[in-house]
Symmetry: C2
Subunit: 473 residues, 2 copies
């Protein structure tokens, strides 16, 4: 069985997307011999965008820390555009913003997927420890013998012996499929009813952004929505998210224009009718899948990370960030295990996998929040209360979104902590309203001369009911 | 592309196990041209048992009705052994029984898997509408063009055009895998930590059953358990269900005997030490998977039934029954749709798929109930209350187990109804205990001379709290 070219087995990373290439850089810096296999050709040499993937992504704390760990944070942020708040565009046209956090640094960054991937591949290539193999698609893996079969050219095959396999090959991961064949993998995949298409809002004729750039723009419509992220070239990338049946009902330019006039009237001029027609009918329609599985580590030599282990729907903007954090957690585990790969992977599995299930659930929840709740006055009040409490008790009370986007608190603990915070708020509000009601009642009784009855008969009764209620919420 | 031998496309059933062969009989009786493909050779001509599958199964109402619909119920029941109750064998040896229901007909039947499968294949073969193809394994399916590729002999392949595909090919279904490739299949698989091994308890030297035959015997041990079902030849088939790690810890005859002496001491003599050693180390260890997916109907021409659509863990004894009911529901849908296959399958999908998710959940729940709850006095009291209520109000109140095993109420409605019933019982018990407490309190106060205080101050207070509590439960 031929070994890899340099006669050194090393570790193999399957998938040279964002997570795979970051992992390569990270493991290379630790002195490991890394072979990175990517099924596509080198994106730095290909024209056009890679089909079916979003053009820009929101980078937040977890992703930034992972980039910082390999010394790339500043370089990435230098071309990224900060977004400090959501900008909501209701049908009426009266737009308003909802800040992401309370501090100046509480912002997420719009980054270009392709530029980031190219940067990571270039950094990986600079390392003498890392070999990148393009057009090398995993066909089969024997987890028992650490033997991988990759495609080689159009029809050839090459067999590779390796010490350890990292599966970073995305939501439809081949490594994961081989794990399912090998052993007991608990697995769950769920397609959501919505598909998406990307559109472009070009810069104005004067060469400026057509909308305010430092926002993530949202057009919420309950059953569907559109979002927009700014690009470095002063355009916006819009993503139209709708049930597939609605996409199917729009078959020609006439019905597309009618649809936009009815639902996104204020965006048409900014996009431009010609642009709208071209993008809508030329761009592929993406579908969205949520994947959970466990374990992520199997056979003592195979670990999956990123979308391969936990594909999330994009509504929390955490897909890339969670994948990057996987790399960071793994290197932390490597440090803890003294560089022993299998021990580090086991540590990673024991402590980290359930966090990835939580971010899948949170993303699914935000799928509803983003297209519906953002228009509810109650939601806006709650956000204000959250932000006020965070302002008053910055380390004690952190809003859910801030914990997800602006901290590295493990996702599972984020949700536990959020639930405790919500209980405290709910009890506080109950206590407050009951106390006000009691005071009001007391004043009424006092001035109507029924104070004695109140003190001796009604108050003890109310007191008991209040205590009862209070303990239950 | 060569068509099937008789030049008539007809429908194709993939899988000639219990569900596939019953479906063939059922569709054949409706006049459809049926091709049944089974990957194994003809079990009627092979010696020995088929590996990795349980030897006997519990047949209950749903399965019986499906067999009755094709005129086979009486024939199957003639060799089946009725089981009227669970017989619990605690470590102490003081066995006791828990009846399955309140009526004489409320029993489940121990049937031999192989004999039942053979009977169904023979009945299928008798129909001129049905062709059975053995050693014909599905390799690939093109759902777009209704083209299936089957293995033909050891290395050959045959391509088949069909009008409709029924996937009855079990928990690791190839048809389902092809559906996942074709379109959006929401899918979930979960392995449980327990494996199982089958043992045999032979008849006594005098040729009789070694235990009372009309029971499903259970040795509950919280973390593991053993069950036994009677066979027609007066033996029992025992199934030992334990965490895989416990199986792995038993490596030789010495540790096996020590294990049985510690946990199943009263069964050793009945099994016989030699039998125990032989069966335990010779029989394969099965693993258990729970599978849910949706939709079951796809591409206008492919429907999965039985384990292929909803593999359940065996703890409710509903795997075969739910699969047989699938066939019955499908024929009911065919009647409703005037024999139009795609319309019937759509009707089946719309009304039936969520029931199959419910039986997966119920079976998982019983996984705990069978090995733990059956030893709790509280559980026994609850069963008695349930049975008493069912006896008093036979059509109004039906215990959960009875609804699952002895009715054809759809599984989803079974759970809804069970929840309502439990709420009524809980409220009734609350009301009853509070009323008794109140009466007791009244009597104490009356005879201690504090009646006035009670009437004017304490009672109104208590009343409010009671109402409050009562409304919340």
């Amino acid at each position: 069985m031929p070994e890899q070219e340099d006669g050194n087995k090393g570790v193999t990373i399957v998938g040279g997307g964002l997570v795979g290439s970051l992992l390569a850089v990270s493991l290379g810096q630790r002195g490991l011999r890394v072979h990175l296999h990517e099924s596509r050709s080198d994106i730095r040499r290909a024209a056009g965008v890679s089909g079916g993937r979003s053009i820009n992504l929101a980078l937040s704390r977890r992703g930034r820390e992972a980039l910082r760990a390999v010394g790339l944070e500043d370089e990435v942020l230098s071309t990224a555009i900060p977004m400090r708040a959501r900008m909501i565009h209701p049908l009426s046209g009266n737009q308003y913003s909802i800040p992401y956090g309370t501090k100046r640094d509480d912002c997420i960054y719009s980054v270009n997927r392709r530029a980031l991937n190219e940067l990571l591949l270039t950094k990986a290539e600079e390392s003498p420890n890392i070999s990148i193999h393009f057009e090398s698609r995993l066909l089969q893996a024997d987890l028992e013998t650490n033997t991988l079969v990759f495609s080689d050219g159009a029809t050839g095959k090459k067999t590779v012996q390796t010490e350890f396999v990292f599966g970073c090959d995305g939501a439809h991961s081949t490594v994961r499929r081989q794990m399912m064949r090998w052993g007991r993998l608990n697995y769950q995949q769920e397609y959501i009813q919505h598909g998406y298409r990307e559109l472009t809002m070009p810069p104005t004729p004067s060469g400026d952004f057509a909308m305010e750039p430092n926002f993530l723009h949202i057009w919420p419509h309950h059953k569907f929505m559109m979002i927009a992220l700014p690009n470095h070239d002063k355009s916006f990338t819009l993503t139209l998210l709708m049930p597939c049946s609605v996409f199917e009902s729009i078959r020609n330019e006439y019905s597309l224009l009618a649809f936009f006039q009815a639902h996104f009237p204020h965006s048409i001029n900014k996009i431009g009718v010609e642009h709208l027609y071209k993008d809508y009918f030329a761009n592929p329609q993406g579908k969205m899948i949520s994947v959970k599985c466990s374990p992520h580590f199997m056979a003592g030599n195979t670990l999956i990370l990123g979308d391969a282990a936990h594909a999330v729907v994009p509504f929390y903007g955490q897909g890339m960030n969670a994948g990057f954090e996987d790399c960071l957690v793994l290197t932390e585990c490597l440090t803890e295990s003294g560089g022993e790969l299998a021990a580090a992977a086991q540590l990673y599995q024991d402590n980290h996998w359930s966090d990835t299930h939580t971010i899948c659930d949170l993303s699914m929840y935000n799928y509803i929040e983003m297209r519906s709740h953002v228009t509810s006055p109650l939601f806006l009040i709650r956000k204000r209360i959250d932000n006020a409490l965070h302002y008053l008790f910055p380390s004690l009370f952190i809003p859910l979104y801030s914990m997800v986007a602006f901290t590295r608190i493990p996702y599972r603990r984020v949700v536990e902590r959020h639930n405790v915070q919500q209980t405290v708020i709910r009890r506080g509000l109950w206590g407050l309203s009951l106390a006000s009601l009691g005071l009001l009642g007391y004043l009424i009784f006092k001035f109507s001369g029924m104070e004695v009855a109140l003190r001796h008969r009604i108050l003890p009764c109310v007191f008991k009911c209040v205590v009862n209620n209070y303990l239950r919420h």
